[in-house]
């Protein structure tokens, strides 16, 4: 294989966890990588760039149970501006919930996109507890899985992987309470205020 183009399609790409996942991937991938972020104004430039790569890795968060609009819109542009040689498309998707399976629909949508548009489909890494896992000791499990994921793309032995925090759902809920409470505190907002049931009132 040749070079891989890592496309971060997070709506907050410059400050995203997806950016951190892409960095880790690049550390473990033993061939050349190039990192790009999807912006409203760079779709065509990214489409042209895909010509130079044997592989694409889409890195993005799950939004409302599926692909974020940032990625959806880029895919629509790519559909009408495809490269002449279709690279193999792999997927690294994360969600904030503990179950990595909650990412399945997004993966299926991309798989369908590849089938319909003639792109070979590569490997998949589904990350659960994706909002917090990077800042916990469980980061080592994440790194180990990214390493395997990267190796599968490098060797073209494509496979599907998943990783999450190895704790019970109850523990996860308690840990996420603490995480979000701290997040609010940084903004001067209490847990009680965050728990308001009011919407736009």
């Amino acid at each position: 294989m040749g070079k891989i183009m890592m496309i971060n399609a997070s709506p907050r790409a410059p400050k995203s966890n997806s950016k951190e996942y892409a960095k880790l991937f690049a550390q473990y991938f033993s061939s050349e990588t190039e990192y790009c972020e999807v912006k409203k104004s760079n779709h065509l430039m990214l489409c042209q760039k895909t010509e130079n790569f044997s592989d694409i890795l889409f890195v993005f968060p799950l939004y409302a149970d599926s692909l974020p609009v940032t990625l959806l819109n880029f895919l629509k542009t790519l559909e009408v501006n495809p490269p002449q040689r279709k690279p193999t498309i792999s997927v690294l998707v994360n969600c904030g919930f503990i179950e990595p399976e909650q990412n399945n629909i997004a993966v299926e949508m991309l798989r369908l996109y590849c089938t319909t548009n003639g792109y070979p489909f590569g490997s998949v890494l589904k990350i659960g507890s994706g909002e917090a896992i990077l800042t916990t000791p469980f980061r080592i499990f994440l790194k180990a899985k990214i390493k395997k994921f990267a190796a599968s793309i490098k060797t073209q032995k494509y496979d599907t992987f998943q990783v999450t925090m190895p704790i019970s759902k109850k523990m996860f809920i308690r840990a996420s309470d603490v995480y979000w409470e701290k997040y609010g505190k940084k903004n001067g907002v209490t847990k009680e205020e965050m728990k308001t049931m009011k919407i736009e009132e």
Partner: protein, 170 residues
């Protein structure tokens, strides 16, 4: 409240249906969610982007019967509807709960609702299958107590909406 949220103009919007509120997303100014978590951790329950979406998500939350009308793309909602659904997260808290054995966000004051989703376009069997699975997942996060999905071609949308409106108004 009965609510129709559509990604396109519909003739039925021009008629008098006093028990139904209509939202035509195609004429609204709704920016992409930027994933800032402001609606959870800075101004809970309110999006920090003060565009037209802030008028729509309270209606979605309050509705007891809702009809979504959306073009389907790659087995999901196309851009207009998906943009709104992503901006709908102020109706949830950051905090997580166990719901039907899975972790999901705690809902704020969101009415349990009966939902109908009309997906339109030239939709393959595979796309239909994926979309049905997507709506099954949406049901857990969007407080659907029941739902049905209907697929129609672009020129059948008006009739499909009219049928649902007639059922609501019976």
């Amino acid at each position: 409240m009965n609510l129709i949220v559509s990604d396109r103009n519909l003739a039925v919007f021009q008629e008098n249906h006093p028990s139904i509120k209509f939202v035509d997303l195609s004429i609204l100014n709704i920016a992409n969610c930027v994933g800032c978590f402001g609606c959870w951790t800075k101004t809970p329950g309110k999006c920090v982007i003060r565009d037209d979406a802030v008028k729509v998500y309270p209606l979605i939350a309050a509705s007891e019967q809702i009809l979504y009308v959306s073009k389907i793309k790659y087995g999901g909602y196309d851009t207009i509807m998906k943009t709104m659904l992503e901006r709908n997260i102020p109706v949830q808290q950051a905090f997580i709960r166990l719901f039907q054995g899975e972790t999901h966000h705690v809902q704020r004051n969101v009415a349990a609702k009966k939902a109908v989703i009309i997906g339109y376009g030239d939709i393959s069997a595979e796309e239909q299958k994926i979309f049905c699975r997507l709506v099954e997942r949406n049901a857990k996060n969007m407080s659907f107590e029941s739902y049905s999905v209907k697929f129609v071609s672009e020129n059948e949308v008006e009739d499909a909406v009219r049928n649902e409106v007639a059922i609501w108004e019976k």
